[in-house]
């Protein structure tokens, strides 16, 4: 009888620990210093939406494979400026218009990328532009 109890306890402990890890992993952010109450709630909501929207719109190109695992890279603050994101990267030309990602959604993505836990992985360099095709 003692062994099954111990086994059960071990399973519960394992699930508790792993689910806590999952939970922390899902909400792995650094709350801006001094944020509390309603502000903190609003922040978490923006961050959570930003995480989903990043995965929908950005992760396909920006996530980096590290040891076979997809990692969200660390963007610098200048890279996260609206104007920079919308216009300064030719690859965003047809993908980051307002009909693709609204102003409010872009704000959420910025919040997510700025305050997520650092992964230590830099943003991969942009692919080289292709030579133009022949036009008659």
């Amino acid at each position: 009888m003692r062994t099954p109890h111990l086994l059960l306890l071990a399973i519960i402990a394992f699930v508790a620990v792993t689910s806590r890890c999952t939970s922390q992993k899902e909400l792995a952010y650094d709350l801006p210093p001094g944020t509390e109450g309603d502000s903190a709630t609003a922040f978490v909501e923006h961050w959570r939406k930003g995480k989903v929207l990043y995965a929908l719109n950005c992760g396909g190109c920006h996530d980096t494979l590290v040891n076979g695992r997809k990692v969200v890279p660390d963007f610098s603050l200048p890279q996260l400026l609206d104007y920079e994101m919308r216009y300064q990267y030719p690859a965003h030309d047809d993908r980051l218009r307002e009909v693709d990602v609204s102003i409010a959604e872009l704000d959420d993505i910025q919040v997510y990328l700025q305050y997520k836990k650092r992964s230590g992985v830099p943003v991969a360099p942009l692919p080289k532009p292709q030579p133009p095709p022949k036009v008659n």
């Binding site: 939406k49 989903v52 104007y83 532009p129 030579p131 095709p133």
Partner: protein
């Protein structure tokens, strides 16, 4: 070992020498690009020199005398000619500085799409256009003239900055400059929008077209791998020949043929080049333009609003059909109002082109009088960047939320409205099934509801008019319609505010909405100015008092009454307002009127022709019947609600 390494080294040396011979047989790619950039620098220097010469002339001449003014005017014209020689580059590469060179108004409050989140900003006027206008005023002062031209010269020097000239090293910018140039040819260059002397509009156009041909030549030399094809250049040359054959008189220019047979086809070709060469933009000037739009009159030429809202990433036809079904039902459902008696369709009746042609302004929610402003048509509302007649909203969904919760309009409460919608099992099932398309939202929100509504009514913005078919497909138009369009673009000066192709206040590059002060009266008899302060309520600056967002003219013949307060019942009354110089022309006190108070001197026949053209902008809208029933609610009190509302 030594012999093993020697052979490959020799081969490599030979290969490198071949490459060297190949590149040295002509100019290097870098040298070729430089030839193109040299033309830019040469023209920039010539433009600067012309402005310096103008400054010297202003310093030497007395602007109080006829001779002095004539000399200064010649200097302005010479500087404008140098500006036009490189306008293709200037307008695109640094638009803010360009407005200091060729700004049309003494003070403008800018609200462009990228600044949607910001307050409008003030731009003090400067530049050659204003200098020329100022020269005609009484008591003109030399130092003020100097100030206007000095600001223009300082702005010109910005175009020598490395951040701008380095863009000349790759071909992408050129195609985007060319595209904007063509759109300006369609909407601005022929309309006296920025040339105060209408007698010089066509001669300036003629000279500019030829100067741009020189830029084409230099570009093809500089970028032989991405040339403008022979067919394009031949077509462009034909456009020059067309304008050369036109009379100098601005009022006799054939805008219709120029647009249909020359500018339109060139635009289609440049769009194909942009797609074919894989041209990429790095400028907000291209923010709203659609690379896939085939013609200038394509309804998707630019994006003003995101009609789908929260559902913007949905492309599944079945899901889109469901969103439209829900949106249609909600549009007619008074459940969205505070008293359950008023729906969107109450003031935007689909059978009346999504407006209310029966009332100057709608009844207030609580029946206590009427609202101050006319309910505008929702057809083509998404072709504006700012919404409501004072431009207070930046998205269709925000605008819809405002109306829904406005105590004078629908009197609803956001939380209660959502609860009532979700109390209807049909709505609940529909929206919950759609949640899979908005994974960032774990539950249905009012934004889902509003997005379905905007998606429904913007479906009616995709239709075309006889005028569009004439432009794109060569369909026949009555001669009176063509004459009306030429008047619209020329003598009647309508197109200086209602821009091609949507005939609203969105001008190339279609990234902002414009406002005008035209002195709309309170009554048809012009006894007093309408007290509505318009844009001032959003941006309280003296220049914006009584300013309203320029409305679109598509379907205008179907959407009476007119103006922000619905004061006029007929198109003729509106044309008469403009013909007599707006409110100021009728003797009303409108010190900041942006419309010239001078009469246009339109004849009766010309007014009829203008009306004929406006009727040709009626679109082939399909019927928009209401649903036969509204979803049942768990709250039985709502099950007797009227489809479309009670008032």
């Amino acid at each position: 070992m030594r012999a093993t390494w020697t052979a490959p080294l020799l081969l490599l040396t030979l290969a490198l020498s071949m490459v060297s011979v190949r590149w040295s047989s002509g100019p290097s790619a870098g040298e070729a690009h430089e030839a193109y950039a040299d033309l830019y620098r040469t023209r920039l220097a010539a433009f600067s020199e012309a402005q310096q010469a103008l400054l010297a002339t202003i310093g030497q001449q007395d602007p109080a005398t006829d001779d002095g003014r004539a000399a200064i005017r010649r200097g302005i014209q010479e500087a404008r000619a140098r500006m036009k020689a490189m306008d293709l580059w200037l307008r695109y590469l640094e638009p803010i500085s360009y407005k200091r060179i060729n700004g049309p108004l003494p003070v403008e409050w800018e609200t462009e799409v990228f600044e949607k989140y910001e307050k409008p900003y003030k731009r003090e006027g400067a530049g050659l256009t204003l200098a020329e206008l100022y020269l005609d005023e009484s008591g003109v002062r030399r130092d003020s003239l100097l100030q206007l031209v000095q600001a223009s010269l300082a702005a010109t020097q910005v175009f020598a900055a490395d951040s701008i000239t380095q863009r000349l090293a790759t071909p992408d910018h050129f195609f985007l400059c060319e595209r904007l140039f063509l759109l300006d040819l369609a909407a601005i260059y022929t309309t006296a929008f920025e040339c105060p002397d209408t007698g010089r509009v066509i001669p300036e156009l003629r000279a500019m077209l030829k100067e741009v041909e020189g830029i084409h030549e230099a570009f093809n030399t500089g970028f032989p791998r991405t040339p403008l094809p022979t067919a394009y250049r031949a077509r462009y040359h034909a456009a020059i020949a067309f304008v050369d054959a036109q009379p100098d008189a601005f009022s006799r220019f054939d805008h219709f043929l120029f647009l249909r047979d020359h500018v339109g086809p060139l635009f289609t070709m440049v769009q194909e080049l942009i797609g074919g060469y894989g041209v990429r933009s790095r400028s907000y000037m291209d923010y709203a333009l659609n690379k896939q739009a085939r013609t200038i009159f394509s309804k998707d030429l630019y994006t003003g609003q995101d009609a789908k809202g929260l559902f913007r990433r949905v492309s599944d036809p079945a899901a889109l059909a469901e969103i439209e079904r829900l949106g249609r039902s909600l549009f007619f459902d008074p459940l969205l109002s505070g008293n359950g008696q008023r729906s969107c369709a109450s003031c935007h009746a689909p059978g009346m082109c999504f407006t209310d042609t029966g009332a100057a302004t709608p009844i207030a929610f609580d029946h206590s009088g009427i609202l101050p402003r006319n309910a505008p048509s929702l057809v083509n509302a998404d072709l504006n960047h700012l919404l409501m007649q004072d431009g207070r909203h930046i998205s269709l969904q925000a605008q819809a939320r405002d109306v829904l919760t406005n105590p004078r309009e629908m009197g609803g409460d956001a939380v209660k409205v959502l609860r009532r919608v979700m109390d209807c099992p049909d709505y609940r099932r529909g929206f919950e099934a759609l949640l899979v398309h908005t994974p960032q939202e774990p539950a249905v929100t009012l934004e889902h509801v509003l997005s379905a509504v905007t998606f429904y009514y913007t479906r009616f913005s995709g239709y075309r008019s006889p005028f569009d078919r004439a432009m794109d497909e060569g369909a026949m138009l009555a001669p009176e319609v063509v004459r009306g369009f030429n008047l619209f673009m020329g003598k009647a000066q309508c197109a200086t505010c209602h821009f091609v192709p949507q005939f609203n206040g969105v001008k190339p590059p279609y990234i902002g909405s414009e406002f005008e002060v035209i002195g709309v009266p309170e009554q048809p008899a012009y006894a007093s100015l309408s007290p509505d302060l318009g844009r001032y309520e959003v941006n309280p600056a003296v220049e914006t008092a009584h300013a309203f967002r320029t409305g679109g003219l598509r379907n205008i013949a179907r959407t009476a009454p007119y103006m922000h307060n619905g004061v006029f019942r007929s198109l003729r009354e509106v044309i008469d307002l403009y013909d007599t110089g707006g409110g100021a022309g009728r003797g009303l006190e409108v010190p900041n009127q942006t419309l010239s108070p001078d009469p246009l001197h339109l004849s009766e026949r010309e007014k009829e022709q203008l009306e004929a053209f406006l009727h040709a902008l009626n679109e082939d809208l399909p019927p928009a019947p209401p649903p036969t029933a509204l979803p049942r609610s768990r709250d039985k009190a709502f099950d007797t609600r009227t489809i479309g509302g009670d008032y």
